[in-house]
């Protein structure tokens, strides 16, 4: 018996998701159109594809003299052909002769071995299509290889591209060192490119905050500008107030770039021809700018100017609710006087007694996306695991950094406000 509740929960969720999927199949025509609209408003992708029948990829004929398998079902073969045809006609890197290095990199990837690409759900890679597209400045090797469609009825393969609103069969794998994904067809690559990312992450242990992008683009694209709009990464993530653009040349139909940002999706892209002409803008620049537009600070006041001079300038702080129970989350609020400031919250007085120990250095170093002058800063104190003890909690708030107005040199600053809340059990 498996006692791992984490695995059991995963199984329950996947079973529930399967029930949802089987229930939702009949609604596919209704959901396909919104999905397609999403495709127009989102940025590049590694297109998950697949098809319900195992079929040949007729378009692979041109790839290194690969033998053409017989389609199992004519209509399925046609669907698959539509999905992957012309990959070689839009990607020059697939038209060049295969080299020993291409085969070596494929072998090192393990994709050509049995079970080497389980995410294909029974599909397999076409070894003769493997090409080492480029090597990134940081040493990562980008391998492109075409894959056939998954086996009939496979639950594993990526069988549907929700954003394109259709099922696909076979396509291009973008494999970077030891990882990658499948599959993009020609239409997807021409529409948005096919991108993969790696290396994102922030870590208190000193991990990198850079994100590396690998994007496959069709012939004719000579440079790619990767644009990261202003954004707020939620749940403790960073806030980026300014756009960042990194332009990279295309080698072997692949452009790679490293952006010192954390992403949830991907960057916006501008594809340039060799003569500098803009071929395409990928992603909804207007929506991104609107969605991520940093809030504007309110007008400077006598109080805000005083706070810049003296961070301990009194500023009213309130706690809500003023009275709560052992598991109440209390919100601490005050009007911000300085944009981009950081604050330290400290309990200065807490109830005493058994089990009432509570840390005194709780703090929030970042005001978040709305931390501009004139906005209300809200910090929530969730109850400790054992619940609040009964009594009065008093806390103080001090400025620790003035943001764009400059730091405080690490020197301790007197609090600008205090407040308290009461807990009744």
């Amino acid at each position: 018996m498996n006692d791992d509740p984490i695995a059991l929960l995963e199984r329950e969720l996947v079973d529930a998701a399967r029930r949802h999927v089987s229930h939702g199949e009949a609604e596919a025509p209704r959901t396909a159109e919104p999905a397609r609209r999403r495709a127009l408003t989102t940025i590049g992708l590694l297109v998950p594809i697949g098809v319900a029948a195992a079929v040949a990829l007729v378009a692979l004929l041109a790839l290194g003299g690969h033998t053409r398998p017989s389609p199992a079902h004519p209509s399925a073969a046609a669907a698959s052909g539509r999905a992957v045809h012309n990959l070689d006609t839009i990607l020059a890197v697939l038209r060049r002769p295969q080299t020993a290095l291409d085969r070596k990199i494929l072998s090192q990837s393990g994709l050509d071995r049995s079970g080497g690409a389980p995410f294909l759900g029974g599909g397999h890679v076409i070894a003769a299509s493997a090409r080492l597209a480029t090597i990134a400045p940081w040493g990562s090797r980008v391998l492109l290889v075409v894959a056939t469609a998954p086996a009939p009825g496979s639950q594993q393969g990526w069988t549907y591209d929700a954003r394109l609103g259709r099922r696909l069969g076979g396509g291009l794998i973008v494999w970077v060192n030891h990882g990658g994904g499948c599959c993009s067809d020609a239409a997807a690559i021409e529409s948005t490119g096919s991108w993969s990312s790696s290396g994102a992450g922030r870590s208190f242990a000193g991990g990198s905050t850079a994100t590396r992008f690998y994007v496959v683009v069709p012939d004719g694209v000579a440079r790619v500008a990767f644009v990261a709009p202003p954004a707020s990464i939620q749940a403790g993530g960073p806030t980026y107030r300014h756009a960042l653009t990194v332009t990279a040349p295309v080698h072997g139909n692949v452009a790679v770039a490293e952006l010192h940002r954390e992403f949830d999706g991907g960057p916006l892209m501008i594809w340039y021809a060799a003569d500098g002409r803009v071929i395409k803008r990928v992603g909804n620049f207007a929506a991104a700018a609107h969605a991520a537009k940093p809030p504007q600070p309110g007008p400077a006041t006598a109080l805000s100017r005083a706070a810049l001079r003296d961070p301990a300038t009194p500023n009213p702080v309130r706690a809500t609710p003023a009275v709560g129970g052992p598991h109440t989350t209390f919100a601490l609020r005050f009007t911000q006087l300085i944009s981009d400031a950081d604050y330290a919250f400290r309990f200065t007085s807490v109830p005493h007694g058994s089990g009432c120990a509570i840390g005194t250095s709780t703090s929030n170093p970042d005001g978040g996306p709305d931390d501009v002058r004139g906005r209300t800063f809200t910090f929530r104190y969730a109850a400790p695991a054992e619940g609040w003890c009964a009594g009065t909690y008093t806390f103080s708030i001090a400025l620790t950094d003035r943001g764009r107005a400059g730091g405080l040199g690490g020197r301790p600053i007197a609090p600008f406000g205090t407040a308290s809340f009461q807990v009744r059990r």
Partner: protein, 185 residues
Amino acid sequence: MEGSPDPRTDGELLVATASDPEAFAVFYRRHVRGVLSFFRRRVPTAEAAFDLTAETFAAALEAAPRYELRPDPARGWLYGIAWNKLHEAQRRGQADDTARRRLGMAPIALTDEGLERIESLAGGRALRLLEALPAEQRDAVRARVLDERSYDAIAGELQCSSSVVRKRVSRGIQTIRRKLTEAES
């Protein structure tokens, strides 16, 4: 992600869930530890943390068909659900199971081994050991490790030098590590 077989973003996984159940499994595996830790730090027992985690992911699965890709990260969306579930539970005095019931999910009985696994994954034991540290070390470790703050910022707040903060963090982590090792052996 490099080294991972699935490079899709969280948002893409949620969108794909409408047709690919495995996509949600990937999303779940990426975040279950974080969500579990999130709840474990805020509720008194591992059972409650697991209950809330299950309900959060069930609610996320229910809402996935309505999820649309957006500039905001899907992680924030997930933790928004988690906060709501936490607040609901605090109001009601128990974790809700509405989403799980609607999805027809079977209840999961927790064994002692299962609870151990949850504590291990959520870092509950380490958190308890953290609370048992001397106050100076506890504050320094919490500020550095949980709040992810710079040594300089912590030093400013604690009114000491950053090298002192480093020593406190180092000693605190060593103590926690040693006690965890002793407990395991």
